[in-house]
Amino acid sequence: MTAAPVQHEQHEQHEQHGQSLDPAAAQSAIEHAYEQGWTDGLPVVPATQDLVDRFLAAAGRPAGEVLSHLKQVDRTVTVELLAINAAMAGCRPEYFPVVLAAWQALAQERTTGGGGWQSTSGPAPLIIVNGPLRQELGFNSTGGVFGPGFRANATVARAIGLTVRNAYGIRPHELEQATQGVPGRWSICLAENEEESPWAPLAEDLGVSGNAVTSTLLRTSEFVDNRHTSDPEQLLADFADTIGRSGPWIFRNAGAGVVLCPEHANQLAKAGFSRADVAAWLGEHAGRTTGQLAAVGKDRANENGVRFPGATGDNRDTTDPEQFQRTIADPASMIVAVAGSRNAGISMVVRYFADWSGKPVAITTGTSPQKDDR
């Protein structure tokens, strides 16, 4: 498990502020990680046993506990391997319970145990954090929640990507075959804005109250900017149009959710919509007619559920071009979360890579978490 020692030529390294640091040693350690092929392109923090031990203590889980196994490469992710990669991603030790919950939430998604991480789609994990731990750890839940700038959000998402790369050995251009990949891959981790949401926390509505992670894989996320109508159905219709568009739709149905900004969420709640009502309305109205789908060669799903041009030959006279085909198979499969600033009516449609387990994972911390001394 060991590699090159960190060299300390002039100064001994200290963790406390005010002590002299050794930038040359840091630089050579960073370069060492690049040479080993361990990074996602950006510098990583060199993981040492002392640092990783603090991660393990924060989570209170056995280092050797197996979290997941990927059959086709016969590779296993243990708590310790996840901790090493989380340390390298730049997480603080106290973030590690969130990384653990996120990995477990993703591991219960069907595709992550199959070909998801290798897919030509290049899907991105969506990681949503609920509970008081959000503020304790400094997760952003408000302005720029999909963007950079916050260590907890950025490093928890990055830890997942480094683990896929290093512990599973699924690297770009090799076993990872993303045609273009998804913007935001390994960087979409957001805390729900529970304070400005009109509804119960997402995970609580799904059966897990308190600190929890809800996660699935995304094909992409697309914004809906709608600030000039007070009619809730006009607002919802704007979402439905984006959800229903044909581009990402390749199977009989497609999965999607919404991350609503507080303004949109509160507008809908004031009009009487619960979270489930929003999903039900969108499920009913998102879609395209058979004629519209025929125009893009996706009007008929075959016996495997894959869409093809079908309104030709035998199907020509039997398919009503006005028939409306729904995008969403089951509105209960829609994530409806609230995040972002309350400063504008801008929300995000999050488009699933595949189905979603619908099950959040509780975040558990060690019984005697080590105090971080920085």
Binding site: T2, T48, T120
Partner: protein, 196 residues
């Protein structure tokens, strides 16, 4: 105070930085190819469909041509993979061993299914079944990486022009016809080679 930097791969220093795969994770020896028959006369053909569009049609046509034109006795088994990302296991391999003498599989035409098809071919060879694996030419690197992961870094498969999924039925039939000589030579040993 000097501390070592921990390896995040869980595989130890000997594998660090290797672009292709490590040695076979289960420590199995690099496989010899299964013994080849001199011809397919009387052979039972096995077809394994990896679910990608046009794969089953392609394989079906190949099976028909091997029977009609190359003396194969029959197509003894046709299965569709339940999970195209996961290589065939011992249970599936043993069904093929009982029902056929050679296997044709593919068509690797996506990220994970192409890698898995290469692993399938290696698994069939290890079980003594000659296999012809067909991938489109967009997946050379992932196929090669998986061959390394499976401990058979030099394993060879049949490449065909990408893409396959957009071809019409007639074009798929043409493709099967085009690849038939290479499939035949992959599954048999020629007199010149003298392999038994």
């Amino acid at each position: 105070m000097t501390q070592t930097i921990l390896d995040p791969t869980g595989r130890g220093a000997q594998h660090a930085g290797s672009a292709a795969g490590p040695a076979d994770p289960q420590g199995r020896p690099t496989p010899e190819l299964a013994p080849r028959p001199a011809s397919l006369a009387g052979a039972r053909i096995g077809l394994l469909d990896n679910t990608k569009h046009n794969a089953l049609l392609f394989l079906t046509v190949v099976g028909e041509l091997l029977v009609e034109e190359h003396g194969a006795a029959s197509v003894g088994i046709v299965e569709t993979k339940k999970n195209f990302s996961i290589p065939v296991d011992e249970e599936i391999v043993s069904r093929y061993r009982e029902s056929c003498d050679v296997v044709v599989t593919g068509v690797g035409d996506c990220g994970s299914c192409s890698a898995a098809a290469v692993a399938d071919g290696i698994n069939f060879e290890r079980a003594g079944l000659p296999a012809a694996v067909v991938l489109t030419d967009a997946f050379d690197i992932t196929g090669r990486t998986m061959a390394g992961v499976q401990g058979a870094p030099d394993y060879e498969w049949i490449r065909t022009e990408h893409p396959m999924a957009v071809l019409t039925e007639e074009q798929v039939r043409e493709r099967a016809r085009l690849l038939l000589p290479e499939i035949l030579s992959t599954l048999t040993v020629s007199d010149q080679e003298g392999r038994a």
